[in-house]
């Protein structure tokens, strides 16, 4: 593990896609030439002002960026400590940060001449965002979704279908997000000639973790400028929920070289870290290889992958993006975990204090904010990523609260 402090935390990965000991490319050989192609095309796109212009234009006029930076006055008062600010990515078109990445990737797919899009989804947020950009650009779209998730998230399944996507319930394995990702990879291997795989988080074989981070970094870039505008300085602490880690990296990355800015990534502790019923890969897992990258994974002593659990379907994944694994080992970012119960409480707290119904994913971040804010001086500033809105979660929450709707 890396002990020395790098000069910059923003120059990862290396040319082979490694973030320290993590990342890389662990895919079947059939996919390797394609993954190398994608990297070449991504480098070309990065150097192409027209690509950036198109991306920015769609983010502004289609997604609705920049998203507001909001001072949560009543929440701050209720917590009685640091000022709490939110980056309002839940106001994006489709209701979460996921669309930022989907816009970037579909532009890459078009650049590469691909004519068919596939994606995996857990809760359905990434599936909806992918189906949305496919409708926008007129490309056929197949979404793989665990059969169990199809049942639990029927409103999102219907949304995807309205948008013209084909939703394939995955029954292999245990029918959850990781099985959906396996099925996506199987489809891709068999259709490399025409298919682009839009991965939904900052994970997978290089260059996915890098390019997803870059597309999501619009969150942190905007926030950095907005903070400067509003209070003339940087925040003291950034907080974000972590499933695969894309919204967190999007917020953190532009600040990584600001030593005055501390960062807290919040994993899902489910029913608690002492049992097996959690989805905290960094705090409760070990390094290993899955879905194209080396990173922390929930696994047993033989390297078999175990299922995560979280009240939030978007955090319920047994892996995490490799850059977070590296940021943990270097100590640049601190990681903590929040239980289902704590997230539910934070969900309700935000509803009542701010009139915002958050998704269950950022509710984990809000719960961590609530714990930290109390012990911080009143002139300190916390910025949390409100990465999704809670419409999709009201059924889960009602069930947990014992309410029939």
């Amino acid at each position: 593990m890396t002990e020395s402090t790098p000069n910059s935390f923003r120059n990862q990965p290396d040319e082979r896609g490694h973030f320290g000991d993590y990342g890389g490319r662990y895919v079947a050989e059939t996919l390797m030439p394609l993954v190398l192609d994608l990297e070449r095309e991504y480098r070309a796109a990065q150097a192409d002002p027209e690509f950036q212009r198109e991306f920015d234009d769609l983010l502004e006029h289609y997604v609705g960026r920049p998203s507001p930076l909001y001072f949560a006055e009543r929440l701050t008062e209720a917590l009685g400590g640091a000022q709490v600010w939110f980056k309002r990515d839940e106001l994006n078109h489709t209701g979460a940060h996921k669309i930022n990445n989907c816009i970037g990737q579909i532009l890459l797919a078009i650049r590469m001449g691909k004519t068919r899009i596939i994606a995996e989804t857990g809760a359905g947020q990434h599936g909806v965002a992918t189906a949305t950009v496919c409708a926008r650009f007129g490309l056929p779209c197949v979404i793989y979704m665990g059969a169990e998730d199809v049942r639990r998230q029927s409103p999102n399944v219907f949304r995807m279908k309205l948008l013209g996507a084909e939703v394939v319930p995955v029954t292999s394995g245990r029918g959850t997000l990781k099985d959906a990702m396996n099925e996506g990879l199987r489809d891709w291997v068999a259709n490399v000639h025409d298919t682009f795989y839009i991965i939904g988080t900052a994970a997978g074989p290089h260059p996915y973790p890098e390019l997803v981070r870059d597309f999501q970094s619009v969150i942190g870039k905007e926030a950095r400028a907005q903070m400067q505008d509003r209070i003339g300085r940087r925040p003291d602490l950034l907080v974000a929920a972590i499933g695969g880690g894309s919204n967190a990296l999007g917020l953190f990355h532009p600040f990584l070289d600001d030593p005055d800015v501390k960062m807290l990534g919040v994993e899902a502790a489910g029913h608690g870290l002492d049992g097996d019923e959690h989805a905290a890969s960094l705090l409760g897992g070990f390094p290993g290889v899955l879905h194209g990258n080396k990173t922390y994974l929930l696994q047993d002593e033989d390297g078999q992958i175990t299922e995560g659990h979280s009240i939030s379907a978007g955090l319920d994944y047994p892996g995490i993006g490799p850059e977070h694994a590296w940021l943990k080992d270097t100590g640049r970012v601190e990681y903590t975990a929040i239980t289902d119960e704590e997230a539910l409480e934070a969900f309700q707290l935000l509803c009542r204090t701010e009139g915002i119904i958050p998704a269950l994913e950022p509710s984990h971040a809000i719960a961590a904010v609530a714990k930290r804010a109390k012990d911080m001086p009143k002139d300190s500033v916390i910025l949390a990523n409100l990465c999704g809105r809670g419409d999709k979660d009201i059924f889960t929450v009602a069930e947990r609260l014992g309410v029939e709707i």
């Binding site: 490319r25 050989e29 996919l31 390797m32 030439p33 199987r186 290993g288 194209g292 002593e301 390297g303």
Partner: protein
């Protein structure tokens, strides 16, 4: 990551490919059914090389047949220690039959490459195929295996073009596994003419034997491929028999393997790589 040292490569594997006929390579999943009896049946049927699958929760390059075998095996509680014990006992019963472990990276590197390589060596394993270890990540397994005289067998596919092939061949030992279809293991199969073209393309760049797999199910297919390759790999068709026939599986495996072996062994020996000009 240099050329494997000829003194340390597996004698069992190289002699299997030095016979005067192409080799039949047979795959079953460890811990699926009575694996010892299944393996014995493959040997009795005439398999020249055994591939023993290490079960994994997430076999993302496999089709339904081998996915189910993985689930059956893990459902029965198979551990890495069990897989190694199956290998050790196989080696005791069959001192001369080459044995290759095939699986995914995570179970192989869980306790570190050195641990895995020495455990595999002690179990009498000759080579390892790691489906999701790209040659770019060779450092995770290759050096530890090669240092103990075990071959790391890489895969080449229809998408591996001439420019990329050297990267695949660099750390590859024992034989090269040519995956004949861009897809997962299972039922689709490639045209023999395409296979022939690709195998000769590969042979222009290496002296390693080339075994062809994915989608080979019947003696007729095997015979046709054996005309143009050094070995033919059969997996899903065998694994399905294990899934369908329970206690009768060994008899069925022996029967299918015998038919495949007859077809492969009577094929004309593939022409060796032309001498380098």
């Amino acid at each position: 990551m240099n050329e494997p040292d000829p003194m340390t490569t597996s004698n069992r594997l190289s002699s299997a490919f030095a016979k005067n006929h192409p080799a039949l390579v047979c795959f079953v999943t460890a811990g699926d059914g009575d694996t010892a009896a299944n393996l014995d049946a493959l040997v009795e049927g005439g398999a020249d090389v055994i591939e023993l699958g290490m079960p994994f929760t997430d076999p993302m390059a496999d089709g339904p047949a081998i996915q189910k075998a993985n689930i059956r095996s893990l459902g029965a509680g198979t551990t890495t220690a069990d897989v190694l014990r199956i290998a050790t006992e196989f080696r005791a019963r069959h001192p001369d039959v080459p044995l290759v472990l095939m699986g995914y990276a995570n179970p192989m590197i869980r306790r570190g490459p050195e641990w895995f390589a020495s455990a595999a060596k002690d179990a009498g394993v000759d080579g390892v195929i790691c489906v999701d270890l790209a040659p770019e990540e060779d450092a995770d397994l290759g050096p530890a295996l090669r240092a103990r005289g075990l071959d790391l067998i890489y895969l080449s596919t229809p998408t591996t073009d001439d420019e990329r092939l050297p990267a695949v061949l660099r750390g590859c030992g024992g034989f090269l596994y040519y995956v004949s279809v861009a897809g997962i293991t299972g039922k689709q199969s490639a045209l023999v003419a395409d296979i022939a073209k690709n195998v000769s393309r590969i042979k222009r760049q290496t002296d390693l034997p080339v075994a062809v797999g994915f989608g080979v199910r019947t003696p007729d297919q095997a015979a046709a491929i054996a005309q143009v390759a050094d070995g033919v790999v059969v997996g899903s068709a065998l694994v399905e028999l294990v899934g369908d026939h329970g206690a009768d599986a060994p008899a069925r495996l022996r029967e299918l393997t015998a038919g495949l072996a007859k077809a492969v062994h009577s094929a004309a020996r593939a022409p060796r790589k032309e001498e380098k000009a």
